[in-house]
Amino acid sequence: MGEVIVVTSGKGGVGKTTTTANIGTGLALLGYHVVLVDTDIGLRNLDVVLGLENRIVYDIVDVTSGNCRLKQALIKDKRFEGLYLLPAAQTKEKTAVSVSQMVDLCNDLEKEFDYVLVDCPAGIEQGFKNAIAGAHKAVVVTTPEVAAVRDADRVIGLLEAAEIKDPLLIINRFRPEMAKKGNMMDIDDVIEILAIELLGVIPEDELIVISTNKGEPAVLNQQSIAGQAYRNVSRRITGETVPLLKLDVSNGLLMRLRKLIGMG
């Protein structure tokens, strides 16, 4: 029996899809059987981030409405053993899938895979309710901005109400030099408000934009510091204890770290 983990945030544009793609790929790199489920019906993106957009035949709505079998809709990522995508439908709306259909789908997937990662749409409406319906665990993604943190707080409240206990926090696009000058919320400020366990801090990294456009998750790039952070997050999800990346402000050390990762 696998684990169903929903990746959610409330606010849009904080990096849910990027996080789902990277954690999923990271887990597959560690040798696990992983399926990524895109529940952002009507605004699908996960397929693009993974570089699988031209291989979609069937989607999640086809599965839930019985147009095809589950196995037919799953797209295998050829780069790794054990990474699959269940894409969202682009021409339908969120209401095309119901909560009970989603629960059934998650139940079917967790029998086949070690990890089922559900990419949740922004907002707290039907799409959100669908995405969390079958989940056992939740990862809440936020950026160190007041608006994103407030939305994350709202979502954590809703997750608790839905009895998804102890969500884990990812702080994305963190810029240590700005936080140090006091121009950005620090990690401690975010944790103090949200009061949930920290799963990881992903530093701001230009390589993320490049990798997203190319359809190659940053975890595959040994040069990317964000990729390194996502690799660590993946290992933490499997239960391993991995210390947080040292995001030192001094540029020299950051460069040294990059070099180190490059060499390793």
Partner: protein, 218 residues
């Protein structure tokens, strides 16, 4: 010995003197005497009544016991002093006025309130946790937050201007008391001290909380 023969309980309406019905009149008399005289005038001026009067006790003997009390300054009450019951009968419960209820009861919330979560209560409110941005707390009485306040709090929603808001720290958010103009918090509590918000001449005022303030305003 007198400890066992005579038990005295204090209630709001007066003393209840419990007589051990298994003891003889002489035991009771001796015990009562000893108990009251050793109290050195502690019971003086208090109203009292007997409870569990032994069946064998004659009216004359009962009078004699009352006289002992009377001599020591206790005042006998004709109607027996009512014992307060933990479970009041329904009819008595209904007699409690809303004002009394407001003054005496309090709602306890044992978690943090996150964005979008609301709590409204008809009395005082104690939150054991934080009130985060986007959370709303409303109360007919005062609000006590054993944590950090970053959200919206409205105390005295039915117009009680004596209501106060106390929090371990107030960092952001909006405060309201009764129908007074709102107060916007801007990083009030930098030092780790509790903060009290109260109405002073028609406006909300914030202070670092101190127990002497408490005495002045309650």
């Amino acid at each position: 010995m007198s400890q066992n023969v005579i038990k005295i309980k204090g209630t709001r309406e007066g003393l209840i003197i419990h007589l051990d019905s298994r003891r003889s009149f002489n035991d009771l008399k001796e015990g009562l005497n000893e108990r009251i005289t050793t109290s050195k005038g502690f019971f003086k001026g208090a109203k009292f009544t007997f409870e569990h009067i032994p069946e064998g006790l004659s009216a004359k003997e009962q009078k004699e016991l009352e006289a002992i009390c009377h001599r020591n300054g206790l005042i006998p009450v004709k109607d027996s002093v009512k014992r307060p019951h933990k479970n009041l009968p329904q009819t008595q419960k209904k007699m409690v006025t809303p004002e009394q209820l407001l003054a005496e009861s309090c709602t306890l919330v044992t978690r943090s309130l996150r964005s979008g979560q609301n709590v409204t209560c008809p009395n005082h409110l104690v939150v054991m946790g934080d009130v985060n941005p986007g959370a709303q707390v409303s109360s007919a009485g005062s609000v006590f937050i054993l944590g950090t306040l970053r959200g919206n709090v409205h105390a005295g929603i039915f117009g009680d201007e004596k209501a106060v808001i106390i929090a371990c720290s107030m960092l952001e958010g909006q405060l309201r008391i009764a129908s007074l103009p709102f107060y916007e918090i801007k990083h009030y509590s930098q030092h780790k001290q509790a903060v009290i918000a109260r109405a002073v001449s028609g406006r909300l005022k914030l202070d670092t909380y101190h127990s002497s303030l408490y005495k002045k305003y309650f």
